[in-house]
Amino acid sequence: MPALPVSRRQILQISSLLLASTALPALLAAQQAPAGGRLVVAADSEPKNLNPAIVASNGVFFIASKVIEPLAEASFDGKDGLQPRLATAWEGSGDGLRITFKLREGVTWHDGKPFTSADVAFSALNVWKPLQNLGRIVFANLEAVDTPDDHTAVFRFSKPTPIQLIRNALPVVSSVIPKHLYEGTDIATNPANVKLVGTGPFTFAEHKPGEYYRLVRNEKYWGKDQPSLDEIIFRVLPDRAGAGAALEAEEIQLAAFSAVPLADLDRISKVPGLKIVSRGYEALTYQLVVEINHRRKELADPKVRQAIAHAIDRNFVVDTIFLGYASASTGPVPKNAPEFYDADVPSYAFDTQKAEALLDEAGYKRGSDGIRFTLKLRPAPYFNETRQFGDYLRQALAAVGIDAQIVNADSAAHQKAVYTDHDFDLAVAPPVFRGDPAISTTILVQSGTPAGVPFSNQGGYANSALDAIIAKAATTIDSGERTKLYNEFQKIVATDLPLINVAEWGFISVASDRVLNIADNPRWAVSNWATTALQP
C-alpha cells in the first residue's frame, strides 16, 4: 500500500484537527493514509442539472466537484488563497484586459480524450459567460479566449476586469467541461449534464433517483496516488433529522453541510466513533441577513432600522440558534474574508431601551395595546436556522412594540413573494459569501436589479453613492485600491442599514473517526476529495 505524500504543513493541519477532535491515535493512521474503501455520505437534494459549469451552486458542487474540476481550488495556504487544479499558473496583464492561464499537461477526460486549452476556451465562451448563474457576472466582459498552444489559454476582456475578482471567483466559476461532448449540441439539455464526464479524481458511475449517486475511483487521475477512496456514495436523505440516526447506526460515514441538526451536535459529540468538524467551510460562509422593504414608510426611516438592529440580541442568535457554531456579524463582509473585512464600522449593541427610544423619536409611539406598528415577516424556508431566527425575530420585535406576523411559504412562494412581488416588510435571508463582494454581498444592496432575481436587492433601497462605489470597484484593477473601495462600502452599509447583517456561519461536518482528511481546504465539502481516506 503506497503511502500518500503528505506535506509537513498538511500533517500539522491534520494533527491540529485531530487533536481538536480528541482522536489522537488516528494521527498515525492519517500519515499512512489508507487507500481504498467506500465512503457513504448523506446528500439532502438531487439537483436535476449536475453540471457545475452551468449551475454554480453548492448543492451541485457537493457531488459534481469530485468529477469535474475547476482551474483552481481554494487553499488555506496557497498563493492568492488558491491551489492549482487544471491550471498551474495564472497571470493578469497590467491593464486588466488579459489573463493568461497555463494549463496542466497529461490530463485526460474520463472517456480517454486529452484535456486541452480548447476545452477551457469552449467552457468559458459557450458555457460560463452565457449560461452560468455567476459566470454571467464575472465574465460579462470576456471577449475571446486565445489558445496559442494546447496548454495555454488567454482570456481577453473588453473592459478592465480586476484579477482579484477572477482569482476569488475561480474555484466557483471555472469548472471545465469537455468540448468534444458539448460542441454542436444544446448545452442546457446535453445528457452529460446528468451523467457527468470530467477530469476529476472520481468518475460518475450511476444515479439511482431518490436513493443514491455512486462515484468510483478514476484510475488515470493526474494527481499522484490520488484519490485514496475507491468509491463515494451520496445517499439521498432529504429529511435532516435522519442523518444523525444513520451516522450512529453506521449506515453512513459522513454528513456534511450541517445535515445533522445543530441541536443534536452536543449529544453526537459524545457518541464514541463520531467526530464533529467545523473546518472546511471557511470559503463557504453563509450570512444571516434581515432584508428590509424600504417601500414601507416606517422602514424607510433609518431610525427605525437602527432600532431593529438594536432589538436583536446577536449573542442569543449565536449561542441559542446556532449553538455557538456561528459568529455575530458587524457588516456585509464576513470575518472569514480577511482580504476585505473591515471591523471599523458602526455597531448596534443589543439594547431594547435604546431601540424603544429610537422608535419613539421616529414618531412611532406604542399604542394602547402596546403595539407601535405591524410588519409582515417572511423567513426563508431553506434552513432550520433561518426559520428559527424568524421565530426569534418576531419575539425580539414584540419586546420593543413591533408586531411582526410571520408568513411561512415554501421556496418557490418565498422567492415570488420577496424577490418578484415585494410582498414583505422584513425577510430573513441566508445569502452565501462567495469570496469576493462583487459576486455576493453587493447585489443585496445595489439598486437597479429587475424584479424576479433571487438574492438581490428587491427592497427598493437606492443609494447612488453606494451604487457608484460598487460600480467603481467592478473595474478597479489595483487590488489595494479595490479593497479600499469595499471597506468604504462596508461603512456605508453598516451606517445606513439597507439590510441588517446578524450573524455568519459555516457548516459542520459530522463524520466517523475512520474518515480522514476531511477539511484540508476552505471549500472542502465542495472540493474534489482526492485526499480523503477511509480507515478500514
Partner: protein, 329 residues
C-alpha cells in the same frame, strides 16, 4: 357474471368525468400558486439574473396561456402521455414507474398484514362482546388508532434502528449493495419492517374495530339468534355465520380507506426516507412541477378507482344484493 360486467362499466363510466375534474382542479391549484417552476429552480441554484429566468420560462412553456397549456396537457394525456417533469427533466411516466413500486410495497404489505391481523383479532374480540378479552383489545385498538403514524414511526425507529440497531434507520434497500434475487428481496423486506410496522399497528386497530363492530351487529341478526336457539355449536356459528357477515363491512372499509392510506404514506415515506409516491408528490409541489403533480394525483386516483372496483366485485360475489343496488345507483 353479467352483473359484474355492468358493475365494471358503471364504475368506469363514472370515473372518467371524476378523473377529469381531478386533473383540472390540480392544474388550477398549481396555477394559483405563488411562484412557478422557474422560481423554484432559481432558488435551488442560489440565484441567476433576469435573462436566465426569461429563457427558462420559455423552455418550460410557461410563457403560454393557461388554457393553451391545459389543452396541451389534456391532448397529450389522451395519447396516454403524462408529459415532461420540469423539476427532474425526465418523463413523468418514468418517475412514476420508478417510485410507485416502493409505495405499493409499503402500502400493500401494511394493508395485507393489518387486514389479516385486524380481522383475526376482531373475531377474537367480537366472539364474546363485553368480555375481558374484548374490552382489552378494544381499548388497545382505540389508543393505537389515535396515535399519529409519524409519531409512532419516530419512536419505533428510535428504539429498533438507533438504540437496538436491529434494523436499518431508513431507505428502501441497502444502497449499491450489489445484491440480487432473493437476497435483494430480503434486504428490502428488512428495510420495510419499521415503516410497515408503524402503519400496520395503526391500521390493524382500524380493521379490528370494524370487524368487531360487525360481529356485534351480526350476533343480533335473526338467523343467528335462530341458529343459536337450534343449538348450533358456538365456534361453528361464530366462524360460519357471524364472522362471515361481519367481513362485508371490512371489505367495504378497504375500499374506503384506499385513498386515505395512499395519502398516509407521505409522512411515513418522509420519516424513513423511502423514495416513494408521497415524497415524489412533495418534490413536485416544492418544484411547482405541474405535469408531475398531476401525473401523481391522476395515477393515485386510478389506483383508488381500481381498488374500489375490486372491492365491488368481491362484495358482489359475497352478497348478491349489494352489486345490484350499486349498479343501478
Amino acid at each position: 357474471m353479467n352483473r359484474s360486467l355492468r358493475l365494471i362499466r358503471r364504475r368506469l363510466l363514472t370515473s372518467i368525468p371524476a378523473l377529469l375534474i381531478v386533473i383540472i382542479l390540480t392544474f388550477l391549484l398549481l396555477e394559483t400558486a405563488p411562484g412557478d417552476a422557474v422560481d423554484a429552480y432559481l432558488l435551488s441554484i442560489g440565484g441567476g439574473d433576469a435573462g436566465v429566468a426569461a429563457s427558462l420560462r420559455q423552455a418550460y412553456g410557461l410563457d403560454q396561456s393557461l388554457t393553451a397549456r391545459l389543452w396541451l396537457y389534456l391532448t397529450a394525456l389522451a395519447r396516454l402521455d403524462l408529459g415532461w417533469s420540469t423539476a427532474f427533466e425526465r418523463p413523468v411516466i418514468d418517475l412514476i414507474a420508478e417510485r410507485l413500486p416502493n409505495t405499493l410495497a409499503l402500502m400493500g404489505s401494511a394493508t395485507a398484514l393489518s387486514f389479516a391481523l385486524g380481522s383475526t383479532l376482531g373475531i377474537i374480540a367480537g366472539a364474546k362482546p363485553e368480555s375481558i378479552k374484548d374490552i382489552m383489545l378494544s381499548t388497545i385498538s382505540l389508543i393505537l388508532y389515535a396515535i399519529p403514524s409519524f409519531w409512532l414511526g419516530l419512536l419505533l425507529s428510535l428504539l429498533f434502528a438507533v438504540q437496538l440497531r436491529w434494523l436499518p434507520t431508513s431507505g428502501i434497500e441497502t444502497i449499491a449493495s450489489g445484491k440480487t434475487g432473493l437476497y435483494r428481496l430480503m434486504d428490502i423486506a428488512r428495510h420495510l419492517i419499521l415503516p410497515v410496522g408503524a402503519l400496520t399497528l395503526i391500521y390493524t386497530a382500524l380493521f379490528l374495530r370494524v370487524m368487531r363492530a360487525g360481529m356485534v351487529e351480526a350476533w343480533k341478526l335473526d338467523f343467528v339468534l335462530f341458529a343459536r336457539a337450534k343449538g348450533l355449536s358456538r365456534t361453528r356459528l361464530l366462524l360460519r355465520h357471524v364472522a362471515r357477515n361481519a367481513a362485508l363491512p371490512l371489505i367495504t372499509m378497504l375500499g374506503l380507506q384506499a385513498a386515505a392510506m395512499l395519502g398516509g404514506s407521505v409522512v411515513i415515506e418522509s420519516i424513513f426516507a423511502i423514495p416513494g409516491f408521497g415524497r415524489l408528490a412533495q418534490e413536485a409541489v416544492t418544484g411547482r412541477d405541474a405535469p408531475l403533480l398531476m401525473g401523481i394525483i391522476l395515477v393515485s386516483a386510478v389506483l383508488v378507482v381500481t381498488v374500489n372496483l375490486l372491492v365491488d366485485l368481491v362484495q358482489a360475489a359475497f352478497d348478491p344484493r349489494i352489486g345490484a343496488s350499486e349498479a343501478s345507483s
